[in-house]
Symmetry: C2
Subunit: 321 residues, 2 copies
């Protein structure tokens, strides 16, 4: 006999009263997370100036002074000894040589996209010429009551599409579900919205034209447009079918799960600490690559055993379509 079933009715009833109290805690928790969201928004404004300067340096609009380049922590010398050792992926031939006289830091965002493990299957070689024009990624959160964040991908003029900004909005819910209130664990992404890309003719990286030869007449074949794998499909996410018995339901759920993960990751990690992904210093690299030399030096690995509970919130927008 299982535990809860084994309890006598008077005790079951008291447990039921405790669960009802727990419900109050859960709603208080949702309120807490909304306050954290507002706090985030107030810090977003303070981050904006720093990120603007970052953008200007990366794009060569601003040349940092000697003083500004003088980063003098003991570990990170001008030679980047540390960063070099830690860089997880060998870049050698796959990486074009950087021109010493280039404006700013060329291919800054493309480099990040190429070397972050989560993006490996996400960015295709055919996307790279277009992603060379990616000059900034910004994250803007919406004022309450509706909770959402929008990732803005800023592009320089390029031969692929006419948009200067591509956007992807992630909608968050921060309310305990009536049917299952105790599963509430902070804000959760439940939907995303892409944008139209105004491709120049013949430049659409998300599809290609295939000629099917007619068996009757070798010259007259039908033309078919098929979807191709591309980073730019990120801006055209599938809709979750309303009917969960839809044959595509599981596939779409899997696609969106990855999509939400990527959106969350861009917001929480990549945008705020982009340079650390560029230099290969991010902790995320050491998590996902085995580097025996390193293991002794670094902190005892920490297992995240639960990051919520009325006090400290979990990530803002976990991937759970």
């Amino acid at each position: 006999m299982k535990f809860m079933a084994s309890l006598p009715l008077p005790i079951k009833k008291k447990v039921r009263a405790l669960r009802k109290l727990q419900l109050i805690t859960t709603h208080l928790d949702a309120e807490f997370h909304r306050k954290v969201y507002e706090l985030e928004r107030s810090f977003e404004e303070r981050h904006r100036d720093i990120f603007k300067k970052r953008f200007e340096i990366i794009n060569g609009d601003y040349e940092p002074t000697e003083e500004e380049c003088n980063y003098s922590d003991a570990e990170y010398t001008l030679d980047y000894t540390h960063a070099i050792d830690d860089f997880p992926l060998s870049v050698d031939n796959s990486c074009p040589p950087f021109d010493a006289n280039a404006r700013g830091v060329p291919d800054f965002w493309l480099t990040i996209f190429k070397y972050v493990p989560l993006f490996e299957t996400f960015v295709k070689e055919t996307d790279e010429p277009a992603l060379k024009h990616l000059v900034d990624i910004r994250c803007v959160t919406k004022p309450p009551p509706d909770l959402s964040f929008t990732l803005e991908f800023h592009f320089s003029p390029n031969p692929f599409f006419s948009n200067s900004v591509l956007t992807k909005e992630y909608l968050l819910k921060c309310d305990p579900d009536n049917d299952d209130p105790f599963s509430f664990d902070g804000p959760e992404i439940y939907k995303c919205i892409g944008c139209n890309i105004d491709w120049y003719e013949g430049k659409d990286l998300t599809c290609k034209t295939v000629k099917r030869k007619s068996q009757l007449n070798q010259d007259r074949g039908s033309v078919k447009i098929i979807k191709t794998e591309s980073f730019f499909n990120f801006f055209d996410p599938p809709e979750i079918p309303e009917d969960e018995h839809d044959p595509q339901f599981d596939d779409i759920n899997t696609i969106l799960e990855t999509d939400f993960e990527i959106g969350h990751y861009l917001k929480e990690r990549i945008v705020p600490r982009a340079v650390l992904y560029f230099t290969g210093e991010s902790d995320d690299f050491s998590d996902s690559t085995s580097n025996d030399d390193e293991s002794e030096d670094c902190d005892v690995s920490e297992e995240d055993i639960g990051e919520e509970g009325g006090n400290v919130p979990d990530g803002d927008g976990d991937a759970a379509p």
Copy 2:
């Protein structure tokens, strides 16, 4: 040749300027986490009334009304069908039958301690008679500038020790480390402080007396006190040796790593949602047990790919001694 080393000097210098900017972001981040800590404290006060009522029901000081027991969500009926199915561990014989006329909910905290996987090796059978007297666990955070939280274990009068409260304080740091600022990822436990337990004579559960027989004289043996495994060692954590070449350094680090995890887990999960651990409904159970029937019903499992970055903090006090 590795990536950072391959960059021409002018670009390296710009990257250096970007890293210097990143340092500002990191410190802004620390400020954000301190604000979240203050927000937590303000919610702690609001939680206090709910937890007080919980305590009174558990200990039979307050008998909930019919209305208060009337928890009417669709899924959780009076039979606890859901909770019964989900309860991960078979309890049967190991669990004493509950008396229908018992005051409150007997063995509430002991039951949680016995069935939470993280505590399995932590709570010994010999501890159980003492833990039957554990009547509440509370968490109190300190007002800034010093960041810490104290877990208070409240006991009813018992034959083991005279203390009515045992405490364990966890000290947090929320400042980027000068030597490695970019590893900063929110508040981190760096130290814990236990308390003295005033054991009644012969009742100390953390040690036992062993007689060693003398080979020369069978009657005269020396008496030796040896430490035993017990939950109550939790209140006497080891100190981290200052010298990292100390032969015990690694062992102590491992002990503290688990200790910090447990402290963090008690604060973030157990204390705020104790009843869900009692009923076996906590998500933590389904994470750690494989339940095939359940997997179809529940949300797509979410991988936590990084829960910080200037915006949403990670758990308050990750275990990293």
